[in-house]
């Protein structure tokens, strides 16, 4: 145990860099996912052509089923190696759960609430922002949390295409047969996932309180 700790201390700088890269990749992927999937989900709720919804969900599902190693490999000829293709790959994986949850969240808003909002003179955009978004927020946030946790875990694979991150420690550990490195990488990813999950949970509560419950006056 002591040996492990002193190892961590000794390689502290490397570990910090790995952590930073890991976080960057994951955060960028999830953020991109939100930027694409939340508006897309809202658009699908408002879209009247069911066949289009089916196609979009089918594609998003399909992306989800491509093995991650394969997806990374496919992206190499297209985008080369490094952080960029890793972020893109993980971003593709993050779309489905956020999309699904946004859609379900918007869809779950009570019909009576929507009808009275319309009947009282909310415009479409106002209704989305002040009524539906706050009410769908718990769904959307839980989608983001779930996505973040598994993106952080999958991001370890990004090291295989030279993106760095905690996976880098594992890959090097395998190369030089140093179990401490492998353990540090794995443990780091787990701790990071826990921390981010907690942070997002806290954010959800704050947002619900502020944005949700007081939106009428502040918005």
């Amino acid at each position: 145990m002591n040996a492990f700790l002193s190892f961590v201390q000794e390689r502290g700088a490397d570990i910090a860099v790995a952590l930073r890269d890991h976080l960057t990749i994951s955060a960028a992927a999830v953020l991109l996912g939100c930027l694409v999937a939340i508006p897309l989900g809202i658009a699908l709720v408002y879209n009247r052509f069911n066949w289009l919804n089916s196609i979009v969900f089918f594609l998003a599902n399909l992306l989800q089923t491509v093995p991650s190693l394969a997806l990374l490999a496919i992206l190499i000829p297209l985008m080369g190696i490094g952080m960029k293709p890793a972020i893109i790959a993980l971003f593709l994986y993050s779309i489905m759960p956020i999309l699904r949850n946004t859609y379900d969240g918007f869809d779950s808003v009570d019909r009576g609430v929507l009808e009275s909002a319309r009947g009282m003179g909310y415009g479409t955009l106002q209704r989305i922002i002040r009524i539906q978004l706050p009410l769908a927020l718990p769904y959307i946030m839980s989608g983001i949390r779930v996505t973040s946790v598994y993106i952080i875990s999958w991001a370890t694979l990004a090291a295989l295409i030279g993106a760095g991150g905690l996976g880098q420690l594992i890959v090097s550990g395998l190369g030089v047969n140093k179990p401490e490195l492998i353990i540090t990488g794995a443990l780091g990813a787990i701790v990071l996932a826990f921390l981010i999950d907690g942070l997002l949970g806290w954010l959800e509560r704050v947002l619900t309180r502020r944005f949700g419950r007081t939106s009428s006056i502040t918005a």
Partner: protein, 387 residues
């Protein structure tokens, strides 16, 4: 004032929900749209604030065609309350009430003042309720907020789609009373949808009776009750239909009974008897045995007289039945008997001594009021033929 001119509605699926509606909702009046489920009441109402668009025809508010107005602006000037209340769960009561003033960009002080005023108007203390969330209120209180919210920006027109139908009978009555009071004070043009005739009679200035996308009859409650346009209206307002032949028949006692006469077994105690009278709001009980044979009657005075004696049962204090009638007795005979002997009620007992029904002064009056208009009609017909 709201006017419907030749309004038709065909839904996308080809269903013709409104055949051709011509209507006028008078300024400052509460007009009730009533009719069986699916007859097009909500469709009619929702075209007023452009939640729906007529397939043809025009709707005018104060002479201006609604289809030429911006729908969002239009809706902000029309109050709207629906059955499932539709309060916004993520906003406090204060914010909910303030929705339309807020959309209309009133300044904050004016909004705050208005919110308190409205909460008081619907009998809810602003200090207590302003900062609560809808889920922290009872159904009746929530619907009060729904009503307050519709009045918030002081619109001239208010639309209410079955606003009280999801409430328990007591809250419903209370809210009806409050609406009547509000309306006396504020004189809005209110369009109110319901399928409860009692509610319509209670609150309406004018009733519009609809069926299958058509207006069947329009008029004050009094007028509709006295002169129902046809059998459909008669059935709908709950009058017993009688064709001219049977209506001249004299009713028999069996047709005039109260629905559930209150009976008690002989072995029951006096406290139980009082409780039962209290619960069923009667002053006497009929005592029947297990075979439902009538044994006697006990009044509240008989019970109170001997109440101190804990071991006594109703059998010990009951009085024998003085007067009774057989099934099939003509009503006039029974009524004569009741008035001669000053009876408040009269038991109907069959040959084997079984208690089969009870008529009371109340049930007689109720029966007469139900058949009265059709008797009048048939008499008018008879005279008409003779002339």
């Amino acid at each position: 004032m709201i006017e419907f001119q030749h309004v038709k509605k065909v839904y996308d699926d080809g269903f013709q929900a409104l055949k051709e509606i011509n209507l006028e909702f008078k300024k400052g009046e509460l007009t009730v749209l009533i009719g069986p489920s699916g007859c097009g009441k909500s469709t009619t109402m929702k075209m007023i604030n452009r939640l729906m668009t007529p397939s043809s025809g025009k709707i005018l508010i104060n002479g201006k065609n609604v289809s030429e107005q911006n729908p969002v602006e239009l809706r902000r000037n029309i109050g709207y309350v629906i059955q499932n209340i539709g309060l916004f769960p993520h906003m406090t009561i204060g914010k909910n009430v303030a929705v339309v003033p807020h959309l209309k960009k009133w300044d904050k002080a004016a909004i705050d003042k208005r919110v308190d005023e409205l909460l008081r108007l619907v009998n809810l203390d602003p200090e207590v309720y302003r900062d609560r969330y809808p889920s922290e209120l009872s159904g009746g209180q929530q619907q009060r907020i729904g009503v307050a919210r519709a009045f918030a920006a002081d619109p001239d027109v208010i639309l209410m789609d079955e606003p009280f139908s999801a409430l328990d009978p007591i809250s419903r009555e209370q809210l009806q009373d409050e609406l009547i009071r509000l309306q006396e004070e504020l004189n809005k043009t209110i369009v109110f949808v319901t399928h409860d005739m009692d509610e319509a009679i209670k609150i309406a200035d004018t009733i519009v009776l609809m069926k299958d996308g058509e207006v069947i009859q329009t008029g004050s409650p009094e007028r509709i009750l006295r002169h129902p346009a046809n059998d459909f209206v008669r059935t709908f307002i709950g009058q017993k239909r009688m064709d001219s032949e049977t209506s001249i028949d004299i009713p028999i006692v069996d047709e005039v009974t109260v629905p559930n006469p209150v009976t008690i077994f002989p072995s029951r105690g006096l406290a139980e008897a009082i409780k039962m009278m209290e619960r069923r709001k009667v002053d006497s009980l009929f005592i029947v045995d297990r075979q439902h044979k009538l044994q006697g009657i006990v009044s509240i005075y008989n019970v109170l007289d001997q109440y101190g004696e804990e071991n006594k049962t109703v059998k010990d204090v009951m009085k024998p039945i003085g007067y009774l009638v057989r099934p099939g007795t003509p009503l006039p005979d029974a009524v004569k008997m009741m008035s001669e002997h000053r009876l408040t009620n009269l038991a109907i007992v069959d040959d084997t001594g079984k208690f089969v029904g009870l008529i009371t002064r109340g049930s007689v009056v109720k029966h007469l009021s139900e058949v009265y208009p059709s008797i009048v009609d048939s008499l008018a017909n008879t005279f008409g033929e003779e002339a």
